[in-house]
């Protein structure tokens, strides 16, 4: 399997994207990967935030209009991701961070799909929606972090993951503290 990945990495296609001294090779694939991430994750995050009670004035059904944008983002990233993977298949295939990233994306996408399916359902099922929303949100943070650290070696990957968790805990604590102390008007606007 690894030798097959090596063979793919030695095709002219892979060599062009990896080594050609032009912004139209590897850099452009990375730009596409960033665009895909923005399309996919941000629309998903808005659906998550709406499920959690933020911007409740936004009609849920109307958010459906943005859903195709999300799937375009997933498509762009599947394609650009396969290209990026193929350039150095052996390194990536043996790197846990990549598999953690892909698993996190799978979890986030499945949760988001279930949230979308529930967009028109009555508010009685909101509790299940919140669980899905928090799961998807955590999965997106894990996916983004694991994806970014693939550029580093294992030790730095683990240290960065710990740093992200600690920072996230601080941010969540500040947000939770802030919304508890917010006056009724503020909380009402949020909820």
């Amino acid at each position: 399997m690894l030798s097959l990945l090596d063979a793919i990495g030695n095709t002219g296609f892979a060599i062009f994207f990896r080594e050609a001294n032009t912004v139209w090779g590897y850099p452009t694939v990375l730009v596409a990967h960033a665009y895909g991430m923005i399309l996919l994750v941000s629309v998903s995050v808005v659906i998550i935030l709406r499920t959690l009670g933020y911007a409740s004035g936004v009609p849920l059904a109307a958010l459906r209009k943005y859903v195709p944008i999300m799937w375009v983002g997933l498509g762009v990233n599947a394609l650009s991701g396969v290209i990026l993977f193929s350039l150095d298949g052996r390194t990536f295939a043996t790197m846990p961070a990549i598999w953690i990233k892909l698993a996190a994306i799978a979890v986030a996408v499945v949760c988001t799909r279930r949230l979308i399916a529930g967009l028109n359902k009555p508010a009685a099922q909101a509790t299940e929606g919140k669980g899905l929303a928090y799961t998807a949100l955590v999965a997106w943070v894990i996916g983004t972090t694991a994806g970014r650290v693939t550029a580093y070696d294992g030790m730095i990957q683990r240290q960065t993951a710990v740093a992200v968790v600690l920072l996230a805990v601080v941010v969540v604590a500040v947000v939770a503290f802030g919304s508890q102390r917010a006056p009724a008007g503020e909380a009402g606007r949020r909820g």
Binding site: V23, V46, V164
Partner: protein, 176 residues
Amino acid sequence: MESVLRYILRWPSVERLIIAYAWFWPLLEVMHFVGIVLLVGIVGMFDLRLMGFAKEIPISSLRRLLPWAVFGSVLTFTSGLLFVTGVYANVEIHAYIILMNNTYLQLKLLFLGILGLNLAAFYVTGVSREVDELGVGQDTPTMAKVIGGVSLFFWLATVYVGRLIVWGKFTEGLTP
């Protein structure tokens, strides 16, 4: 001018953090990416509505999402500032030299300037108040469409040139 820029663009304390802790730079990168998703994604959805997409959503309700875009901008601006002021630790070239020579970084700052002016125009020209009064299904005025279009285009252009900074001049040694 040069000596002022040279002084304010290099922060030895940030450089020491980057050298002492290998995880500090990648942590900033993760912050930058999470911030981009919140900032560009939510502003982009707002821009699309200004341009006439998803008219079923009242703009005044979409505005409630903007604090999350502000949170995203805090993440990107903080991490971005630390990238610039600490870059010497990674490339051993003064941020001033990179700023004066790296076309991608220069374009990014230019685009951010245009976005700032565009945002000011949104509020100063009264378009912001005008679109707030629009209800479900109502189309936006031409000026709102122009401002939304300019914003969307230049945010995507900012991401594009921003991603390419590591392939510009004097940034060899930075992780792509």
